[in-house]
């Protein structure tokens, strides 16, 4: 079984986002970009399935700037993906457009499982996996903390508000990753060197004949209201008084 893992190149999670002075967005010039952390978890899960013999091939795909070939797609291959597909565009593609492109990739590649990050840490949409599942008519196991393949299906344990929930899905299926699914391995230097020889198929959005015109227009982007640092108290007694003042302690 082939596993497809879509990944996104985003502002590194350690970098504090800065809103542009003209209010058009977040400044991404000259800042560190990395693979979306949830997507690293997705690759790790796919690679582990291959290592266990449950998957035969791991294919990674990204939609975004051409530069991704030499950073996030290289990292993905170094982590163990067998080959990569770059769908190049300089434009922002919304989750609905991404899902439509991925549906075309699925048609071509025929994977048994698609594993995606549950959300990208830039637009925090949390939509693409569910949308792809809808377009393909496949079941979806979102926010996964455990994925067990067996027989003709996959059992997915999901992190839900009340705790954990388990669903049985028919294959082919969509899985989206939550934080506790696994701890992704680092791309080591020797593996990065080796990964350079793993193939990357270069495509453009136009190759897929899908309309990805954005439906949402960003009118403005602002910084949220800032909290001011308050006071420091020197003792537990003072803190008790403050809590009484707030009406939460008698």
């Amino acid at each position: 079984m082939k596993v497809l893992v879509p990944v996104k190149r985003v502002l590194d999670f350690n970098v504090k986002p800065r809103v542009k002075a003209d209010g058009t967005g977040v400044d991404l010039a000259n800042v560190k970009m990395s693979m979306n952390p949830f997507d690293e978890i997705a690759i790790e899960e796919a690679v582990r399935l291959k290592e266990k013999g449950a998957a035969t091939e791991v294919v990674v795909v990204t939609i975004g700037v051409a530069k991704a070939e030499s950073d996030v797609l290289l990292t993905a291959r170094a982590m163990g993906a067998d080959r990569a597909i770059l769908i190049a565009t300089d434009d922002e593609v919304e989750p609905l457009g991404v899902a439509k492109l991925l549906a075309k990739v699925v048609e071509e590649e025929q994977p048994g499982l698609v594993i995606l990050g549950k959300q990208a840490i830039d637009d925090d949409s949390n939509q693409t996996g569910q949308m792809l599942a809808a377009l393909l008519g496949w079941p979806q196991g979102t926010f996964a903390s455990k994925v067990e393949l067996g027989g003709n299906g996959v059992k997915v344990t999901r992190e839900v508000d009340g705790g954990l929930e388990t669903v049985d899905l028919k294959l082919p299926a969509i899985v989206t990753t939550d934080l506790r699914l696994n701890e992704p391995r680092y791309a080591t230097l020797p593996n990065i060197m080796k990964a350079k020889s793993k193939p990357v198929a270069k495509k453009t959005v136009a190759d897929y004949g899908v309309d990805v015109t954005p439906r949402l227009k960003t009118l403005k982007v602002v910084e949220p209201g800032k909290r001011q640092a308050g006071i420091k108290v020197g003792s537990v007694d003072e803190l008790v008084e403050k809590l009484k003042g707030l009406g939460v302690a008698k």
């Binding site: 977040v26 609905l96 979806q140 979102t142 009340g162 954990l164 602002v222 640092a229 403050k242």
Partner: protein
Amino acid sequence: MKTLVWVEHDNKAVKDATLATVTAASKLGEVHLLVAGAGCAAVADQAAQIAGVGKVHLADDAAYAHGLAENVAPLVAKLMESHDAVLFPATTTGKNIAPRVAALLDVMQISDILSVEGPDSFTRPIYAGNAIATVQTSDKKLVITVRGTAFEKAAASGGSASVEPVSGEGDKGLSAFAGAELAESARPELTSAKVIVSGGRALQNSENFHSIIEPLADKLGAAVGASRAAVDAGYVPNDYQVGQTGKIVAPEVYIAIGISGAIQHLAGMKDSKTIIAINKDEDAPIFQVADIGLVGDLFKIVPELTEKL
């Protein structure tokens, strides 16, 4: 505009997250509700009491018992033939189902809205709430998830909507509910608690978390939360996590104990009315957002605090 709100429930009672979503929907127009579940007539009756609701659609079918997205998304999509917008609370249930509905309708979803700026424009947080975007949609139908802490809760009583049965395609045969391990706690729910006591990695282990954090929470009648680090380390289960990818909370008082204050954690709690931080590192970022800070050893401070309250 005719709106449809997904009612979050457990087949027994309406969950609080529904009420803020009703308020958001009421800013767009007429509010109808959808109660989809199994043996959930009591939920529909309760939902009909919510102030400002015009109609409750009740889809009572074993296929909808556990809110499986594969089964309920087509039902919602069908109801959207006679509605202009559908709003889900941004809970794990809403986040699971809404995008599936959006794709079926060929609509770009607007996630986690903070405000309604007009019939087609909304604000929403991006980059873990480090930026707030105002977006305008060109879609004819709207699919929206609503951040519960950003809207007042609609009154749970005072309404008298009619309940109308609806049916969908039932079980699509793609997925099945296999079980759940739901936390049972006598404490308030995190997302609706007035006071939250949250612990971080500095608690060092699960035993300390329970013996230090929980007595204080119980003294204050508070819910218990945790940072991602504490959840990843296995001190407490995932449903305790407050942050960008966990629960978003905005209680009257949030007490952060041994939490350094990574931006991903702040994203989940910085709209709390009063933030209190206890941390031994006086340079911890949590103090930059805390209204009241106490620097020191939590293992001494917290038991003393619990005792003195």
